[in-house]
C-alpha cells in the first residue's frame, strides 16, 4: 500500500463512489458521485471497476503528494490544468506520482466536479456497500466528511499496469437538460410547464451537493405549494412556495413536501450537475420510453469503457501528454455516434 497526502484542498472534495443503497427507507440517501460518467472514465483509466471509490474534486484547486510509494492517478470530469514536475499532464490520461512528488490540479473550467481515480483504489470500510461521504449523516470512508488539508489516504501502489493509458474525453450533447414530467406535473398549468421549459435557469451561489437552486421568473402553482410528503428521486425538480425551482441531487433529502414538476433523466444527471454557479440550465421534457432508452445506452457506454482504454507508448510523460491532447480531438469526433 501507498499513502496519498492531501496538501491543499478546497471545499466539496470528498471520497465518492456509485452511492449507498439499502437504507433509503430509513431516510438515508444514496449520495455518490455527482457525475457518474466522470466517475466511470477516471476509474477505467486506472483499471478500477467503474463504480469504485475515488476522490470527487470540488471546483477549487487541490495539491496532493505521494507520501509513501509510487501512486498511479487519472483525472476525468470537469476540465482542469494539471501540473507535475513543472510540466502539463493531460486530463483523461493516467500518470504516476513518484514517492515524494506532488501534483497540482487547478480549478475546474466550465464544469464543477472532476474525478481523481487511483490504481489499486482507496483503503476503507464500506457502509451499505459504499465509501461515499454523506456529510450530514456522518458516513463515509476513510473520512466521514469532505477532505481537509493534511488528510492521508491509504491507497493502492502503482504496480499492476504496464505504462500509462488514455481514454478520449466523452462527447456530451450541449442541448437542454432532458427530463420526464412528474410526479406532480398536475399541480401546474400547461402554461407553467411550458414556462419551465422555455426559461434559461441560472444556478444560484447557494447550491451544493444536496441540490442546486435555480433562479429565474417564479413558477406559479395551480393548486397548492404543499403536498403530503413523498419520495424524491435523484434529479427531481421541486417547486417550493417561492416558485424558484430546486434541482435535488446526490446528497438530497429522501422525501419532501413540495410539488415536483419533473425529474432529470439518468443520462443527463452528470451534465446537469456539471453546470457551474452562474451557469444556465434549460429543460426539455421527453417521453419516459425515450429516457429509458438513453439510460440503457449510457449504461452500455460505461460498461464498454475498459475496452476503449488505449495504451500509451514509451517516451516522456510530457510529450505523451501533448500528443494525447492532439489525438483526443480526432478520436472524440470519431466516437460521437456511440455516445449521443
Amino acid at each position: 500500500m501507498s499513502i496519498l497526502l492531501i496538501e491543499e484542498v478546497g471545499p466539496a472534495t470528498s471520497v465518492q463512489d456509485f452511492g449507498r443503497y439499502g437504507a433509503l427507507r430509513y431516510g438515508l440517501g444514496t449520495t455518490g458521485a455527482m457525475d457518474r460518467v466522470g466517475l466511470a472514465y477516471a476509474n477505467a483509466l486506472v483499471g478500477q471497476d467503474w463504480h469504485a471509490p475515488l476522490i470527487e474534486l470540488g471546483p477549487l484547486p487541490i495539491k496532493i503528494k505521494a507520501k509513501e510509494g509510487t501512486i498511479r492517478l487519472a483525472v476525468s470530469g470537469a476540465m482542469r490544468g494539471i501540473s507535475l514536475r513543472g510540466q502539463a499532464v493531460a486530463m483523461n490520461e493516467s500518470f504516476c506520482l513518484a514517492e515524494g512528488e506532488s501534483v497540482m490540479i487547478r480549478a475546474a473550467r466550465g464544469g464543477v466536479f472532476s474525478y481523481l481515480a487511483i490504481e489499486g483504489g482507496i483503503v476503507g470500510t464500506p457502509t451499505f456497500g459504499s465509501f461515499s461521504v454523506h456529510r450530514r449523516a456522518g458516513l463515509g470512508s476513510p473520512f466521514a466528511r469532505p477532505l481537509e488539508g493534511g488528510d492521508q489516504l491509504e491507497v493502492g501502489h502503482a504496480s499492476v499496469m504496464e505504462g500509462e493509458r488514455r481514454l478520449p474525453a466523452p462527447a456530451l450533447p450541449d442541448g437542454p437538460i432532458r427530463c420526464v414530467l412528474g410526479p406532480q406535473d398536475d399541480f401546474f398549468t400547461a402554461e407553467t410547464i411550458a414556462q419551465f421549459q422555455a426559461t434559461p435557469w441560472t444556478i444560484s451561489a447557494t447550491s451544493d451537493r444536496m441540490g442546486y437552486r435555480l433562479e429565474g421568473p417564479p413558477l406559479a402553482h395551480a393548486r397548492t405549494a404543499n403536498i403530503v410528503s413523498d419520495g424524491i428521486a435523484n434529479g427531481t425538480v421541486q417547486i417550493p412556495g417561492t416558485g424558484q425551482p430546486l434541482l435535488l441531487l446526490a446528497e438530497r433529502g429522501t422525501t419532501g413536501g413540495y410539488p415536483k414538476i419533473a425529474t432529470v433523466i439518468t443520462a443527463d444527471l452528470g451534465r446537469a450537475a456539471q453546470t457551474p454557479v452562474g451557469g444556465v440550465i434549460r429543460f426539455q421534457a421527453i417521453p419516459i420510453d425515450e429516457a429509458q432508452a438513453l439510460a440503457r445506452e449510457q449504461a452500455r457506454m460505461i460498461a464498454a469503457l475498459p475496452q476503449r482504454v488505449e495504451q500509451l507508448g514509451g517516451g516522456s510523460l510530457s510529450s505523451e501528454a501533448l500528443l494525447a491532447g492532439n489525438l483526443a480531438g480526432h478520436a472524440t469526433n470519431a466516437l460521437d455516434p456511440a455516445l449521443t
Binding site: 433509503l24 450530514r136 458516513l139 427530463c179 413523498d230 422525501t255 439518468t266 439510460a295
Partner: protein, 247 residues
C-alpha cells in the same frame, strides 16, 4: 379503498416511480402502502432496487437497464391489488423527552398561541398515541401522526437553518422526531437523547414505519448521562411488543 381506480402510478424520472394510494394523511392509506411494501419483499420483482414507504404512497427505485416503466408498473399494480393493508404493528416505542426551556425553545410560544400553559401542552403531547407513518428526509427522521389537534401549530414562516439532533417537534398537524442536526420549519417542544439513527451502533436504525410511539417527560438532570449512553450505542427508548394486536 384499494380499488384500481384510486391507485395511481406516476414516474419519478426514468429510474423511480411512486405508487400513490391517495393524497391525505390517513392510517388506512399508510397500511396499504406498507402492505405493498411487504409484498415486494416477498416477491422477486426484476430490476426493483429500493422502496420508501411514505404517508400515502410507495416510492420505488428500479434499474431501467433491467426493466421499464410499463412492465414494472403492471407488476406493482397487480401486487397492490392483492396485498391489502398491513395489520397494525405490535411494536411500540416509549421515548423520553426533556421539554421546554433551551431543550424546547418553542414550547412557550406554542402554549401562548393556544392559550394553554406549557405544562398543559406537554401533557397533551405526552398523551398522544402516535403512529410512525414514514421515515424520511434525513436518516432516522420519524414522521408521526396522532397529534392532539388542540396543540397543532402551523409551521414557522421562516425555517431555522439549524435545529438540533433529537429535536421533538410539531409542524401543522404532524409531529416528528429529528435524529441529526438539520434545517427545519417545525416548532421544537423538546429533545430526546434517543438516536433513531446511529452510524456506528450495531442496529443502525431503530424505528420502522408502522410502529406505534408515545412520549414521556424525563428530568433534564438526567440528560448528560442519557446522551452519553446513547452515544455509546444504547437505545434509550424502550421497545414494547404488545400481543393484543392480532390480524
Amino acid at each position: 379503498m384499494s380499488s384500481s381506480a384510486a391507485l395511481r402510478i406516476l414516474p419519478c424520472g426514468d429510474a423511480a416511480l411512486t405508487v400513490e394510494f391517495g393524497d391525505t394523511v390517513d392510517p388506512h392509506l399508510n397500511a396499504l402502502v406498507l402492505g405493498l411494501d411487504d409484498a415486494l419483499k416477498a416477491h422477486d420483482v426484476a430490476g426493483l432496487q429500493e422502496t420508501i414507504p411514505t404517508y400515502r404512497s410507495l416510492f420505488v427505485t428500479y434499474d431501467p437497464v433491467v426493466t421499464d416503466f410499463n412492465s414494472i408498473s403492471g407488476l406493482l399494480r397487480e401486487l397492490a391489488q392483492q396485498a391489502g393493508p398491513k395489520p397494525k404493528s405490535p411494536r411500540r416505542w416509549r421515548v423520553p423527552v426533556v421539554y421546554g426551556e433551551d431543550f424546547g425553545i418553542d414550547l412557550e410560544e406554542v402554549a401562548k398561541g393556544k392559550g394553554l400553559t406549557a405544562d398543559e401542552v406537554v401533557r397533551r403531547h405526552c398523551a398522544g398515541d402516535y403512529r410512525v407513518y414514514m421515515l424520511g428526509f434525513m436518516p432516522g427522521f420519524a414522521y408521526l401522526g396522532g397529534l392532539d389537534q388542540t396543540i397543532a401549530t402551523s409551521r414557522r414562516d421562516e425555517p431555522r437553518l439549524v435545529t438540533p439532533a433529537g429535536a421533538v417537534m410539531i409542524g401543522g398537524v404532524q409531529a416528528g422526531i429529528q435524529c441529526i442536526e438539520a434545517p427545519s420549519g417545525w416548532h421544537i417542544l423538546g429533545r430526546t437523547p434517543m438516536r433513531s439513527y446511529h452510524p456506528t451502533r450495531a442496529q443502525m436504525f431503530l424505528i420502522e414505519p408502522g410502529d406505534a410511539l408515545s412520549f414521556y417527560a424525563m428530568p433534564r438532570s438526567d440528560w448528560a448521562m442519557m446522551e452519553e449512553a446513547a452515544e455509546a450505542g444504547e437505545w434509550i427508548a424502550e421497545l414494547v411488543i404488545t400481543d393484543e394486536v392480532a390480524a
